[in-house]
Every structure is written in structure tokens, then in C-alpha cells.
């Protein structure tokens, strides 16, 4: 993927100083400025709003429905026709979840593990991406291809041996076992590489002339200038670790070491008929990631620009 991307880059050259990320910032500022000049809503715009609202509602509908059901009593749920809003909203389902499964502990576990993975990924991916973008060395293409290959190895192909490894290390039911296998990321490396390659060559050249070591350049120039890309990798890493199901299921035997996804799936098996309770559990588990998305949306978009748009 990035071989082609770098080919493209050489073809087209850097069109602007800091690439699309800056472009977006500029255009957004412009848009905001335009929007603050108050104009009356034209019918065409009203139409646009209506369409947007309908579509957004449709897309978010399953989630909103889950929210609604989480406040419904069992009696409401089995009504026919199926209800959309609770007739008699109640917190009983949330109560049940809090009492029946140690959801607080599950959330803690998920946060600790996801946080650890994010830190690990940022470290390993920054170093690797830096090598791939700024250092010239023999065998770079081969090593890059090796990185790429990890994206295509399905997890099923490695999960049993991985379990045995983790067990031999004594990492069953531990945070290390949940986090360490995921602390390297090819996807994150690529994203960061795209971001790093937006940094103008002149900076690199002048730093070399000044005699700065490559590590120093990484630390003092590259990292600070790549915040959006780093944020994207961080958010992605957090989301994907938080959302893991099979690996935590496999290596945690103790109840208290389980993560949120395992917990909520078990809730589904345990309370197979109590949809209200299941939905309450689902909402409680989804809220942190939704909050993260809302907070980090901008970073996510900006960072992804670097990876996807330019190839």
C-alpha cells in the first residue's frame, strides 16, 4: 500500500506545506467564518437538514433503540406491536446489571488494558514509522513488506500457539497477557508513516546539517508535528483493544479479570430473555467508546486523512 503511496508522492510532489491536514484546518476555519455570518435559511437548506436528520436517525437508530430498551421494563418489551419508547421508564435494568455482574471491574480492566496497549503501540509504531520514513537502509522494502504481511495473517492462525505462549509465561488472568501481544501494530505504523512523510524534507535536512542525532530529531521535531496522526493511532488502538472479544475470553478464567465485551456477551447468555437488562449492559459498555469518539472525532478525521487520502 505504501509503496504505491510513496510512488505517488514522488510523482506528484508535496502540493502544500503540511498536506491535507492543514488544508482541512484552513477550510474549516473558513467555513466557520462563513457560517457565523448569519444568513436566513433557504428552503434548499431546510431540505438538507431534514434529509440529514432522517438519515442520521436511521443510522443511529439501533443504538438509540438499545438506549430506549435499557429503560424498559420486561412487561413493556413483550408488548405487541413492539414498542419504541418505554411507557414507564425505569432504572431497574441498570440496577440489575450493577448487581449481577461486576461491571465496574470489567470497565476498569478494559481501560487498563486498552491504555497499556495504546502506550505500547505509540512507542513501537513511532519508532518503526520513523525508521521507515526517514532512515535509508538496505532491506527496507523487505522489512516493510514483513510489516504489511502481519495485517493479512488472520488471528485464528495464531491464537492457539499464542495461548500456549501466554500460559508458559504465566500471564493467564493478567493484564500483561491481555495487552502485550497487541503492543505492536502494522496499521498504526503505516498511519504514522503517512503522517511523518508530511513533514518537509527541509526540516530533516537542516537537522542533519546541525548534527542532531536521528533520535533527537524524532523526539523534538517529528513527534510534536505529528499529533493528529498519533492521536489517531491512539484512538484506534484504544477502540480496537476495548472491543476485543475472543482473546480476553480465552485467557481470562477468573471473573474479576474479564473485560467488558466478555462481560456483556455473558450477560446475553445469562439473561437470554431479559432484553432490558442486556441492553442496559450494552449501553454501559458502549458509552466509554462513544464518548471517546465524540471527544476525539476531529483527531480521528485529521489523522485518517493522511493515511487514506494520499494513499
Amino acid at each position: 500500500m505504501s509503496e504505491a503511496g510513496s510512488r505517488a508522492r514522488r510523482r506528484g510532489g508535496l502540493t502544500s506545506e503540511l498536506g491535507p491536514a492543514k488544508q482541512i484546518a484552513v477550510s474549516e476555519a473558513g467555513r466557520r467564518a462563513a457560517a457565523t455570518r448569519r444568513r436566513p435559511l433557504r428552503p434548499r437548506q431546510v431540505g438538507a437538514y431534514v434529509v440529514l436528520a432522517l438519515v442520521a436517525l436511521l443510522v443511529a437508530f439501533p443504538l438509540l433503540l438499545a438506549l430506549s430498551y435499557s429503560f424498559m421494563s420486561e412487561r413493556d418489551i413483550v408488548q405487541f406491536p413492539p414498542p419504541i419508547l418505554p411507557a414507564d421508564p425505569t432504572f431497574a435494568n441498570y440496577d440489575a446489571v450493577l448487581h449481577e455482574i461486576p461491571i465496574g471491574r470489567y470497565l476498569l480492566n478494559s481501560f487498563v488494558v486498552s491504555g497499556a496497549v495504546v502506550v505500547g503501540q505509540l512507542l513501537t509504531a513511532s519508532l518503526a514509522a520513523y525508521a521507515f520514513s526517514f532512515l535509508a537502509f538496505r532491506g527496507r522494502s523487505l522489512l516493510f513488506f514483513l510489516f504489511l504481511s502481519t495485517l493479512m495473517i488472520p488471528w485464528e492462525a495464531t491464537i492457539i500457539p499464542n495461548y500456549l505462549t501466554v500460559r508458559q509465561l504465566g500471564w493467564i488472568d493478567t493484564y500483561q497477557g491481555l495487552a502485550v501481544p497487541f503492543m505492536a501494530t502494522a496499521f498504526g505504523t503505516f498511519l504514522l508513516r503517512q503522517g511523518f512523510m508530511q513533514i518537509p524534507r527541509e526540516l530533516w535536512d537542516s537537522a542533519r546539517i546541525d548534527g542532531a542525532s536521528s533520535f533527537r530529531f524524532l523526539r523534538s521535531m517529528v513527534i510534536p508535528l505529528s499529533r493528529p496522526a498519533l492521536a489517531t493511532v491512539g484512538i484506534y488502538g484504544f477502540l480496537s483493544t476495548y472491543n476485543q472479544y475472543f482473546w480476553p475470553l480465552l485467557i481470562t478464567n477468573q471473573t474479576l479479570m474479564r473485560t467488558t465485551q466478555v462481560g456483556v456477551a455473558q450477560l446475553r447468555f445469562e439473561e437470554s430473555a431479559r432484553w432490558g437488562v442486556i441492553m442496559a449492559g450494552v449501553i454501559m459498555v458502549a458509552v466509554p467508546t462513544l464518548a471517546l469518539l465524540i471527544a476525539g472525532q476531529r483527531q480521528l478525521i485529521r489523522g485518517l486523512t493522511a493515511g487514506a487520502v494520499k494513499g
Binding site: 413483550v78 500460559r167 493467564i172 478464567n253 477468573q254 455473558q266 447468555f269 445469562e270 430473555a273
Partner: protein, 456 residues
Amino acid sequence: MRRFAALALIISFVAAACGGAPGGGGASSDQSALAPGKDVKPAATITWWHAMSGVNGDALNKIVDNFNKSQSNIKVVTVFQGTYDDLLSKLNTALASNAAPALAQVYDIGQAYMRQSGETVPIQAFIDRDKFNTSDFEPAVLNYYKYQDKLQSMPWNASSSILLYNKDAFKAAGLDPEKPPTTFGEVTDYAKKLTKKDASGQTVQYGFGPSIYGWLFEQLMATSGALYCDNGNGRDDRANKVVYNGPEGKAILDWWKAGVDGGYFYNPGIDNAGATNAFNAGKSAMYIESSASLRGSVNSAKFTVGTGIYPHPDSKPATGGNIIGGASLYIMKSRPAEEQQAAWEFIKYAMTPAVQAQWNLDTGYYPVVKAAYNEQASKDWATKYPQFTTAVNQIRNSPQNRATNGCVLGVMPQARARTQKMIESVLLGQATTQAALDAAAAEMNDAIDKYNKANK
């Protein structure tokens, strides 16, 4: 309560010591050597993996709490591992890497796998060593978990498959609510009468709504008096093939398919909870399930729930009967002797009449120990839920033979999943009944071959 439990423990020890033959039966070989020595001190903590969820899970934890409080030598820690399938899957990986618990609850069909894995200490060993008395245990239940007359695991939660029906719907359809159908033909007749459609032709109530669950098929084979696999259902010797693709299997599938095609049987697919929900909501007037779900239905249905015996063929074969369901407790060999000892101590506690009575009161599984019925709690409960006596009577009335002992196969989980796929293909019209049966049998025989070759 605590003192009573301790007393019960002592009494059972004494009774076993003074009593007659050891509970295991077979006088041939004493397996005591397989158990740790009598004077081994039990471990301070052991782990118990189980698959009891919801109400049953609460009941289990209550028992464990009581045990832990009743003495200060052993603490049992319980871990819920999901469904029975998930638990077995986890156990398998755990055993392969020495991370197993001391005690595990494994379902009925996992018994061959557990025994052939060589990873368990047969309960017979402890029974022989301590001369533990099992003469008061339900014979049907014990027989299920014995292999060549040696008890492999301790039966813990025993259920039976029964017919549940909606007494109010019976009345509305002009049927006698105290006379449920007993044969395939009767179920069909009743189901036709109970099916109701609304003005637009949509069915609002189906007569009969069984889920596509392999266990139900196994039970139907048993009430038909037929073997599921060869070599005496795998109990005389290791099974080499499945034999359910004979006339009995065909009769079952033909009956089921006719019902679905005729529109008076409801098909909820493989979702057991869906079948229960449909029944509780009044969408199907009858269905077949484990007696363990009776408690839940009685609680949540808005009508009176009746129970009847599990359907059998019109010819009422004399050898037909029911296989017990549920699960049993295994002690893992890979754990140190102290933990095995502790696990046995807990098992003995769990099998006392008082604990058994409480367990069945809270869940719907019936007691394995007959003396539990003499407990006041049991008597009260039998009065409250008279529907339940159907299940245990049915088990007691079943003839004890290979068909009703149930099939023992190392690849039983796969077999069960395969019969589900077979039933699906028939109900969806993708294959004729005999073709579907033969296809399933062929595939399973391959799998059994592979298993036998790899696991000598």
C-alpha cells in the same frame, strides 16, 4: 443449618463406614488407589468452574457460600464460564496447558470426552476409598454417569425432558387440560386443534413449538427405544459409528417436518430461549424442553403451566424411556492431591439431602439423593409445583437399558451440532428426511473415525 450440614456429613460418613457394600456396585476392582490417601490434608482453596446462569447460578453460589461458612478448612471459589459448550471448550484448552480448575461441571454429553481425556479422577476412586454410600442415589442418574460400572463423575444437576403445555389454551380449544398428549400422533392432533389464525391468515398461536436442539432429538430416540450410536450406545465399548439414521430416526423427522409444513408446529430455529419465550408469551401452546426451565416458565407465564411426559412413538415401545439431562462434577487429575481431596469434601457436602433439597427448590433440577424428598423444604416445594413430579416420575419409570442410558461419544458436542444442522435442512426442505439422516451419519462416522485414531 451449619450444624445440620456438619451433622449430615458425619452421619453419612458413619453410615458409609457401618453400612454395607460400597456405593459403586461392582465388586471386581477397587479404584481407591486412584484417589489421594485418606490422610491427605485438603487444600485451603479450590476453584470450581460451572455453567449455571441466572437463577440457577444464584442457587449454586448460595450453596458454595454455605459450605465456605460451615467450616474453615476449605474455600471453594466459583467461576461462571458461560454455556456448557463454552465451558468444555475452555476446559479443553486449560487442560492442554495445565491451567484447569480442581472441580468442573461438564454437561451430560461431555462424559466420554472427559473420561477418554484421562484428565479426571473417577469419583469411584473416592467412593471405594471412603466406602461412600450411594445406595440412596437415583439409579437412572448413577447409571448414566457410570462406565463399565464405575462412577466417573458425581451427578450434580439432573433434569429430564418433558412436555410443557398451556392449560388455558387447552381449555379454550376444548381439550381436557389434565390430559396432555403422550404420543407423536396425539401431539399432532392436539397441535392442529390448538393452532389459531387471525383474520388476515397470520398464525397467532401455534400448537407445538420445539426448538431445534440436538438433546431433544436424542431424547426422542430414547423414547423410541432406539440406539443413537453402536456398541451399546458406546457403553459396552467405544462407539464406531452413529446409528440414528434408521427407521426410528426417520419417523421422528417425518413427524416433525409434517408439523412444520402443516403450519401447526412453530419453528424457532436453534434458539432455545426463543422457544421458551414463545411458549411463555402464548405463541405456542405446547413445547418440549428440560424440566430445569419449568421454574422459569411457571414464574413468568400468565397462564397455568402443565407438564406431561415426553412424547413417544404411537407404538409405545416398551424399551422406550428418557435419558437424564443436566451435568455432573469432575475432579481434575492434574491438580495436586490436596486440591482433589478438598474437591471431594465439597462434593460430599453437596450430596447431602438438605443441600440437594435446597438446590432443587431453587432451580428445578431434581435431587439425585432420594432422602432429599423427605426434607420439609422438598415436601413444601412438591406441593407448590406439582407439575414437577412428572419429570422425576418419568425418570423413575423409564426402563434402564442402553437406549435410555444415552449415547457416549467423544465427539458428542459435534454430533449434537450436526443433528441440529440435519433437522434444519429437513425443515427448510433442503433434503428429504432419509437423505438428511444419512448425510449426517456419514459425516459423523468420519469424525468418529478421526477421533478414535487420534485418541487411542
